[in-house]
């Protein structure tokens, strides 16, 4: 069914998507909270930056990331100073690219869920004697559950479907940066249509199932963050 090369690409893709999604939840949750609640003038600019990957061609993002990750770039100099070398054409570099590329898909649903919740439940919890941290973990996060679910699923699926950024900053190193989308491209270039069919078909089924879960199980409620198409 799947050749060892294909299995390796699938495994790498799942590892990349899982790592990126977990890190995105860590970074995205406080960011979404801040965006949902701040009255600062910085809200607009920050929201625009978070949303940039929605409209930019992945090649643009990849191009600047490549420059930044290169030994002379700002991130490259930092990682070089830390003894990590350049992250361009590495798995870690791909994780960084994926985080930037998928950021809006995780942040926006969570931000919308925090926003939809309103101040009411948090004020009730405060009158119940709950401090800010307790309110965040026992009220805000449980009430924003659907936002976290759709944010995680969309972030994961979007990372799986990433192509342009990977090609720009990851190249095509088996077991390190050759993810499923790149593998399909390779196989089509090499006219291995049979192999490509397996992977491409699997991607169609996978994506359909993911969206079915998002729209089906949470469909009773409004799904925050499913307003933009991609």
């Amino acid at each position: 069914m799947f050749s060892p090369d294909n299995l390796q690409a699938i495994w790498l893709t799942l590892r990349l998507a899982t790592t990126a999604t977990l890190l995105l939840l860590l970074i995205g949750t406080p960011l979404a909270w801040w965006l949902a609640r701040t009255h600062s003038w910085l809200r607009g600019p920050v929201a625009a930056i978070v949303a940039l990957p929605l409209v930019l061609p992945p090649t643009v993002l990849g191009f600047y990331l490549l420059l930044a990750l290169a030994p002379a770039g700002p991130i490259g100099q930092l990682t070089g100073a830390l003894g990590l070398g350049s992250l361009a054409f590495t798995f870690e570099g791909l994780v960084i690219g994926s985080i930037l590329y998928s950021l809006p898909f995780v942040v926006q649903p969570i931000q919308n869920a925090f926003h939809a919740m309103g101040d009411g439940p948090l004020e009730v919890a405060a009158t119940f004697g709950a401090g800010p941290w307790q309110r965040f973990f026992t009220v805000a996060i449980p009430l924003a559950r659907s936002g976290f679910i759709s944010g995680s699923i969309l972030g994961f699926a979007h990372t799986v479907g990433e192509f342009g950024v990977v090609l720009m900053i990851g190249g095509n190193i088996p077991g390190e940066t050759r993810v499923v989308s790149v593998q399909i491209y390779e196989q089509v270039e090499a006219l291995q249509f049979g192999e490509a069919h397996w992977l491409a078909g699997s991607m169609v089924v996978f994506s359909f199932l993911v969206l079915l879960v998002v729209y089906g199980s949470i469909g009773r409620h409004a799904i925050p963050g499913m307003r933009f198409g991609n």
């Binding site: 004020e123 009730v124 919890a125 405060a126 009158t127 119940f128 004697g129 709950a130 800010p132 009430l143």
Partner: protein
């Protein structure tokens, strides 16, 4: 006598009292500014009703007391503890308050039971059982707020407020989202609150009926300012409680049941200056009953022994008469005995025919009495 032996003037303040001096300017979403300016003292006994039209600043006042809004200048002390002054602002979660909102005073993702326990020390099992029983919510504990009716939600919220042993209980129109039947159902629970809690209870309302039923003290707000405050009996008798229609004017009397007449299902209610007969409210001897007598239900006459159906005919003195030439009716302020005050709404023509003037002696004939609690 040496100066330091002079008796010090103690800070005269009953325990538990809330003192609030608030000056708060807030920008309104629709534009413009709203200003709340207030200096009030709220006792720890009985319910204090904050009464006013919508937009008068009632809810804003509660939010300032709770620490949900932060007024620019305020001095708040509860039972001597400073909650806010020039240097300090105690956040809401440290204030030990109970707060019942108009609707949704519960956390929507937790069952009623977990709402009662949220953020509290476990192990107050006996208290929980008492509060649950007092509010009759045993059968609701495993339901979620969305599965409860409005009245049930408010009862759970009241139980939660009781359980937190608050130093201040804030009720923001807890009845306003309920239909008439549910209101009647919840009122007795509210009336019982002062017996259960010895902290100030602030009840915000725009309903004169709720004021008459619940309030011991009243604070009247208008455009962010306190325009009248005092005991409910005094404010109602002096007509400083703004009610919409003159027909709703009346007085509230605190009475004690002093006898029963089982033959006629009547009871004798003793007020400060006498007794009157009322329909038996089913309250034991010595029980407290609050009566409301509307001004339109008191007529006036000179003859003591009129042959009529009136049960209560009280000798009274006219204190003053409110009238204006362009209306048919006038409001007669009466005093019975030393301190009991009544209001009577009669036509100006009748008033003239009876020759009413300040200090006239007259009989107040009470046509009906409403038993409030």
């Amino acid at each position: 006598m040496r100066a330091d032996l002079q008796p010090r003037i103690p800070a005269v303040q009953a325990p538990g009292t809330l003192q609030a001096r608030i000056s708060y300017t807030m920008a309104q979403p629709a534009g413009g500014r709203f200003q709340l300016d207030l200096d009030a003292e709220i006792p720890a006994t009985g319910i204090t009703c904050v009464f006013g039209a919508s937009g008068s600043g009632k809810t804003t006042l509660l939010r300032c007391l709770a620490g949900l809004d932060r007024p620019q200048a305020a001095r708040l002390t509860v039972d001597g503890e400073v909650w806010q002054d020039e240097n300090r602002f105690m956040p809401t979660h440290l204030r030990r308050i109970g707060y019942v909102f108009q609707d949704s005073s519960l956390l929507p993702h937790l069952s009623a039971r977990r709402n009662l326990h949220y953020g509290r020390d476990p192990g107050d099992g006996a208290d929980t059982a008492d509060a649950v029983k007092l509010l009759g919510i045993e059968h609701l504990l495993d339901k979620f707020p969305r599965q409860l009716s409005g009245g049930e939600r408010q009862r759970v919220a009241l139980a939660r407020a009781l359980l937190s042993k608050p130093r201040l209980l804030l009720l923001d129109e807890p009845l306003s989202a309920l239909d008439v039947a549910r209101k009647q159902e919840l009122l007795p629970y509210l009336q019982r609150l002062p017996a259960e809690l010895d902290c100030p209870i602030v009840h915000v309302t725009h309903s004169p009926d709720e004021v008459a039923r619940l309030a011991a003290h009243v604070l009247v707000l208008d455009h962010g300012e306190c325009v009248a405050s005092g005991s409910v009996t005094e404010l109602m008798a002096s007509r400083r409680l703004p009610v919409n229609a003159a027909g709703e004017s009346g007085v509230v009397l605190e009475t004690t049941i002093a006898g029963h007449d089982a033959d006629w299902n009547l009871a004798e209610a003793e007020y400060a200056d006498g007794r009157m007969l009322i329909p038996d409210p089913g309250v034991a001897m010595g029980g407290l009953v609050r009566l409301r007598i509307l001004a339109r239900d008191i007529s006036l006459s000179h003859a003591e022994e009129a042959h009529s159906s009136i049960l209560n005919r009280l000798p009274a003195t006219v204190e003053r008469i409110e009238e204006s030439p362009d209306t048919a009716m006038c409001m007669v302020h009466l005093r019975v005995g030393d301190s009991t005050r009544l209001l009577s709404r009669v036509s100006r023509k009748s008033s003239r025919r009876l020759g009413l003037a300040p200090s006239s002696e007259i009989y107040a004939e009470i046509k009906s009495v409403a038993i409030l609690q």
